[in-house]
């Protein structure tokens, strides 16, 4: 689904120094996989996601999605941002339909799909509300439905639940796994919470900062259907411990 090889990204600072945000990043994601990228602030995980989404230019290397090299935003991808970023003058349903609207004229197919995803994120009956009338968690649900509605194969999520309280976050994690199972999409989710990364993922990509690079890739040895109790299980704890060890050795523990 995603193939990344030799990816580099350098930023120019105001003083003219170069900052290596990403250094020789390479990985591959299979169709239908749930991948999480975890790392402390400044490890380049958001940069990586923005390059995959096509909103940031890479310095060198190659990225291809669904077999096609990408050089800019494309229809195969749905993006969920850190903040929900809903347009406050559009109703919930209008926000969800916005990406489809950008691609061309809306048809009944789009509307049906919007209804389907609205139901999937648990917001039936809210289609004509405005974002200002919704809680933070509900707004992010709209953000997820919006990312899915033009039927992309890949869902990119940039710390989507970072702004939510812990209880809502757990709830959203479970719902996201259900939505993934129902929709069959490939998901790449960036987070700085180690337990969240392990709980959601089939595989966890661990990144370390300065320069941002992949430190480890870990398969999570748990059944695909996750339950909250698994957080206390042994395989879960083993992966979490292993991820922590990377950050402790660098002296940068962020969560």
């Amino acid at each position: 689904m995603i193939t990344v090889s030799g990816l580099n990204k350098t930023y120019q600072t105001r003083e003219g120094n170069e900052i290596h945000a990403l250094h020789e990043v390479a990985f591959a994601v299979e169709p239908g996989e749930f991948i999480t990228v975890v790392g402390p602030s400044g490890c380049g995980k958001s940069t990586l996601l923005k390059i995959l989404a096509g909103i940031l230019r890479r310095t060198s290397g190659s990225v291809s999605i669904a077999g096609r090299p990408i050089d800019g935003p494309n229809h195969e991808v749905g993006v969920v941002f850190q903040a929900p970023v809903l347009l406050p003058w559009r109703t919930v349903i209008q926000n969800i339909l916005m990406p489809s609207e950008l691609h061309g004229k809306l048809t009944s197919v789009h509307r049906k799909r919007a209804d389907k995803y609205l139901a999937m994120v648990g917001l039936e009956g809210f289609e004509d509300k405005y974002p200002g009338e919704l809680s933070g968690g509900m707004q992010q649900r709209v953000g997820i439905a919006r990312a899915l509605c033009h039927d992309p194969n890949l869902l990119l999520m940039d710390e989507p639940f970072g702004a939510l309280d812990a209880m809502t976050r757990e709830m959203m994690n479970l719902d996201l796994l259900r939505i993934r199972a129902e929709s069959g999409k490939t998901v790449l989710l960036v987070t700085h919470s180690i337990p969240e990364a392990v709980f959601l993922a089939d595989r966890v990509i661990v990144m370390s900062p300065r320069p941002g690079r992949i430190a480890d890739v870990l398969a999570v040895d748990l059944p695909r259907e996750r339950k909250l109790e698994m957080i206390n299980s042994e395989p879960f704890g083993k992966v979490v411990t292993r991820i922590r060890s990377h950050f402790n050795s660098h002296g940068t523990l962020d969560s």
Partner: protein, 277 residues
């Protein structure tokens, strides 16, 4: 028992909102009555010449007379027409040019210095020229009004178009939105609250523009009537016109606020928030 409940609702401040507004209006009206009363009494008591300051009652009589014989109404019609036509022309131009400049830094570099240079010239100073160019009829007044209404709309449109949050633009980019779609879906809606501030300033200034134009040279309009009545020492008549002018300004401002509330419905009107202690 019932009084304690009443006090409780008053303290939490939510139920209190509408009666509070009501009493505000009452106070405002009471203030007007007191001022008018003091004015009437003062003029009569100190025996001030009505050529200098007329009493409120004399002003009111003149207002009724002017309405009855049609002189106020017909001249108000002319001034109102000039105000509106000038406002639409100036605001329209401000929106279009503001749209272009707000979209492109290149256009800003080319146009904006001249716009600023034009804005620094006092419109009152060029009003006589405009009357020479466009004649003594309504056209010259519309042009003067338009030049005054233009700038606030232009400046606010530019600022508004640039106020769009980066995340919203990124969102459109990520979903393959074109430059034009970003303009339509994100930049224009974000600019609207600013544009309405500009329009509100412009419509009030437009009234001034029309009157200034009429002062310079005209055959009709409230400004023309003010000059005429001034020459014939009809001070009460001038006051009556001033009253009408301010009513017109306030009325137009209200209409603009009402339209703004309808169009920019998603903006929080901070009425429910405490703004300081």
């Amino acid at each position: 028992m019932s009084t304690s409940i009443e006090q409780a609702t008053r303290i939490d401040g939510v139920r209190d909102k509408s009666p509070g507004k009501h009493s505000d209006h009452l106070m405002s009206a009471a203030l007007l009555v007191v001022i008018l009363g003091a004015w009437e009494f003062g003029v009569r008591y100190f025996n001030v010449s009505t050529l200098i300051v007329p009493t409120p009652s004399a002003t009111f009589v003149s207002l009724i007379q002017g309405c009855a014989d049609g002189s106020l109404i017909s001249n108000l019609g002319v001034t109102f027409y000039e105000t509106m036509a000038g406002f639409f022309a100036g605001a329209g131009l401000g929106l279009i040019l503001g749209g272009i400049i707000g979209q492109s830094a290149y256009a800003e570099k080319i146009f904006y210095p001249y716009v600023i240079a034009f804005q620094t010239v006092p419109k009152v100073a060029i009003a006589p020229l405009i009357v020479i160019w466009f004649g003594y009829g309504v056209t010259s007044k519309i042009v003067i009004t338009a030049t005054i209404a233009f700038f606030p709309v232009l400046a606010n449109t530019i600022v508004g178009l640039r106020s769009a949050p980066r995340e919203q633009i990124d969102l459109l980019v990520a979903f393959t939105g074109s430059k034009w779609q970003i303009f339509r879906y994100v930049k224009i809606p974000n600019a609207l609250p600013y544009i309405f501030v500009g329009l509100d300033v412009a419509i009030v200034l437009a009234v001034i523009g029309a009157i200034v134009g009429e002062f310079v040279g005209s055959q009709a309009g409230l400004g023309y009537l003010i000059l005429q009545r001034n020459f014939s020492m009809d001070t009460a008549g001038v006051f009556a016109i001033l009253l009408i002018l301010s009513l017109m300004g306030v009325g137009l401002h209200w209409v603009m606020q009402a339209i703004k509330k309808k169009v920019v419905f998603w903006v929080n009107h901070d009425a429910d928030h405490v703004s300081g202690a």
